[in-house]
């Protein structure tokens, strides 16, 4: 199958390993991945911070870029959520019914990685090997906007060598929330503290999720406290094999006082 990668601006710029892993995984499963280079950002940050007018050209660009493809995948529940729920809404509010219709059409062909694997490609055992103790945080937008349910867990359970431990109070938000993390830094940190407490209680070496943004927040906190627990994107775990290097390289931190 020919699959267009909607890389997301965050993965492209800061977390390319998650995007590269998505490519490697899909190619290993025998699919062709294409990367439309005209893509930049879906505009979620603008919409969620109150700048719908600024987001409109980005939505237009996204729709134009991905319109030609039958199947589109992103390694992010949040960005897929934005494409599905916000793009048509913002276009409609701006009075652009035609764009709204096209956005709905593109959204209907856009999948979060676990949705693509389980629902479209019909696979739960992707042949991965990852010999670590792992806990999974179901990010809010994957859980409540996309309703991915247990798809990521089914994928993780099929990974050889992986010791999956259940995260207590998993459905609670980690406190990221985009610009919320900066505008309401204290509240965001209080939520992060509780999430980290639950992650640490599992004894896992690795906390995984389907969103680089939540992982950046969670990983930033775990690193600040020198917990020794790493955050790794779901795609990277699913892309790992016996032939490759599965220990992972620690993320280099620009800010680590």
């Amino acid at each position: 199958m020919r699959i267009a990668l909607f890389v997301t601006c965050l993965a492209d710029t800061v977390f390319p390993e998650a995007a590269k892993a998505t490519v490697r995984l899909l190619e290993r499963l025998g699919h062709e991945v294409v990367f439309p280079p005209e893509q930049t950002c879906c505009g979620q940050m603008h919409v969620n911070t109150g700048y719908q007018r600024d987001a409109l050209p980005l939505i237009r660009r996204h729709v134009r870029t991905f319109d030609p493809y039958d199947v589109i995948v992103a390694p992010s529940g949040s960005c897929v959520g934005s494409v599905r729920h916000q793009h048509p809404l913002v276009a409609r509010r701006a009075g652009d019914e035609r764009l709204a219709g096209r956005a709905e059409d593109v959204a209907g062909r856009t999948y979060e990685l676990s949705e693509l694997l389980v629902d479209v490609l019909g696979v739960t055992d992707v042949g991965a090997y990852y010999p670590h103790r792992v806990t999974y945080h179901p990010t809010c937008h994957s859980l409540r906007m996309l309703r991915v349910g247990d798809r990521p867990l089914r994928l993780l359970r099929a990974v050889r060598g992986l010791d999956l431990v259940e995260l207590p109070a998993a459905e609670q938000c980690c406190g990221f929330g985009g610009t919320f993390a900066v505008k309401n830094a204290d509240t965001s940190t209080a939520m992060l503290a509780d999430k980290m407490r639950h992650v640490l209680s599992t004894g896992a070496d690795v906390c995984t999720a389907s969103d680089s943004s939540c992982l950046m927040h969670l990983g930033g906190g775990l690193s600040r406290l020198r917990t020794g627990v790493r955050t790794v994107h779901l795609a990277e775990i699913l892309a790992a094999t016996e032939q490759g290097e599965t220990a992972g390289t620690p993320t280099r931190m620009a800010v680590r006082p």
């Binding site: 969620n48 987001a55 939520m191 800010v255």
Partner: protein
């Protein structure tokens, strides 16, 4: 062009009632977050209610259809609100009640104060009501020399503690029983100093204090959960029986009700009386449901006044996205599941309506400029939308209100620049390469400058990789 010229409905006036905080949410929240007792009380209480509510909701096979029915009824009500309110007025009047229309908090307070004065009573007993808190009725009555006595146990704790409610349903949720004991000892006349903090002992003391007041006060003030237009019937649901006492014992009953509380028919109650207790207290049915229609000779209050309050509701109704906030039946399910509310508590929101629903209702009632920080008091996690028994899309509303909120100038400039760059892939690629946050963070990696220091205060920040994804892709 002025607001009057456009014929736009007025928002709730400032200087009266409790819809506006004195400081922005982030700074108010910072104080609450540092209060370990508050954190513990809230964490315990919300976890308990959440579990209880989830249990009884799971018992109802058609819960999702009930939610949809509740939403549909409310949407219908708002679509023909004037007609339903006039029908309600006609039926209440025909049944011997008197209907008053109050455009805002000041008018409502004046109407109620005048009505109480006319009875000659210098005290009123009150059923717990959000709307009278919203308009600051207790303060208005006290100013007129009339003593309002809250008869709901939690509301009494708040009143005696000279405090403010912090939850829609459980106004003293921020207090634990040790604190409640201290408040009673301090503020309740004639309490035995040997009082323990056993819940039953605390309730017994409050019961003794209130009983005498119930029997000797001739005027009661209540809110309303529902008003049935076709019959003119008012409904109050409660747990303690204090409401039933207030609604039946006095000579005069004055009910203040937000205009959105009307439902078309008696049968519509079937839906809401299933939704409300399960979503709210986690009960299958609330212990007391009181309903009355006008006055009944020789039975109950012989004078009944209904005050229909707008106070910004018409302005909310005028916004086709925002109006769904008026579906709210004040169950507080959204508060109980909100990770922000659970940690900051209700006072941080400034308004009597805290939590997710408060963050979308208060700014609309006052005009968003007066509560500009509230739409941002959410991580948009969506738990509130799932929990809402009338399916108010709170995250969608928050995002919409953020669009209307006044923005800091530097933020607006940065957002415009980011959008400009992101709409030009070549420029975007150049920016990706140029962004080295390590430079901004200083050589020693101490942290980012304001406002981004909000991030680095508690979290490390990864260094951008040597190669972006698109560079890697191009070089494959």
């Amino acid at each position: 062009m002025t607001r009057t010229f456009l014929g736009m409905p007025a928002t709730a006036p400032p200087g009266v009632g409790q819809l506006r905080g004195t400081e922005p949410f982030p700074s108010a929240a910072r104080r609450s977050l540092a209060d370990p007792q508050l954190r513990r009380n809230l964490g315990h209480a919300t976890t308990t209610i959440r579990a209880k509510s989830a249990g009884v909701i799971a018992e109802v096979p058609d819960w999702e259809r009930l939610r949809e029915a509740g939403r549909a009824i409310k949407a219908d009500v708002l679509a023909r609100l004037p007609e339903l309110l006039e029908q309600l007025e006609a039926r209440v009047s025909a049944a011997g009640g008197v209907v008053h229309w109050a455009a805002d908090a000041n008018e409502a307070n004046r109407i109620v104060t005048d009505l109480v004065r006319a009875t000659g009573s210098d005290r009123v007993i009150k059923v717990k009501s959000m709307v009278t808190q919203e308009i600051g009725l207790n303060e208005a009555l006290a100013e007129a020399g009339i003593e309002p006595v809250e008869t709901d146990l939690a509301e009494l704790i708040v009143q005696l503690g000279d405090d403010r409610p912090s939850h829609i349903l459980v106004p003293a949720i921020h207090r634990n029983r040790a604190e409640i004991r201290e408040i009673f000892l301090r503020a309740m006349p004639g309490v035995d100093p040997a009082l323990t903090d056993e819940p039953a002992a605390l309730a017994a003391v409050a019961r003794g204090y209130l009983r005498q007041t119930f029997l000797t006060t001739r005027v009661a003030v209540s809110g309303a959960n529902f008003a049935v237009a076709e019959t003119g019937t008012l409904a109050v649901v409660e747990s303690e029986g204090n409401g039933r006492m207030c609604l039946t014992l006095p000579d005069t009953l004055i009910t203040v009700m937000g205009v959105e509380k009307v439902v078309p028919t008696w049968r519509d109650l079937e839906v809401f009386l299933q939704l409300l207790p399960r979503a709210s207290t986690g009960e299958r049915m609330n212990p007391y449901t009181s309903m009355w229609t006008g006055v009944t000779p020789g039975d109950g209050p012989q004078a009944f006044h209904l005050v229909l309050l707008d106070n910004g509701r018409s302005a909310v109704l005028a916004d086709e996205v925002g109006r769904q906030a008026l579906y709210c039946i004040r169950c507080s399910a959204c508060l109980n599941v909100c990770p922000v509310y659970e940690r900051t508590g209700g006072h941080a929101y400034g308004s009597v309506y805290p939590g997710p629903i408060g963050a979308v209702l208060s700014p609309q009632l006052t005009g968003v400029a007066d509560n500009a920080s509230l739409p941002y008091a959410s991580s948009l996690c969506g738990a509130c939308y799932d929990a809402c028994p009338v399916k108010i899309n709170i995250p969608e509303l928050l995002v919409q209100l953020r669009d209307q909120a006044p923005h800091p100038r530097t933020e607006a400039a940065a957002m415009a620049a980011a959008a400009y760059t992101m709409d030009r892939p070549r420029l975007y690629e150049a920016a990706q390469r140029a962004v080295r946050l390590s430079r901004l963070a200083g050589r020693r990696g101490r942290g980012l400058p304001p406002p981004l220091d909000g991030w680095t205060g508690s979290r490390d920040l990864p260094d951008p990789p040597a190669q972006t994804f698109r560079q890697w892709w191009a070089g494959r």
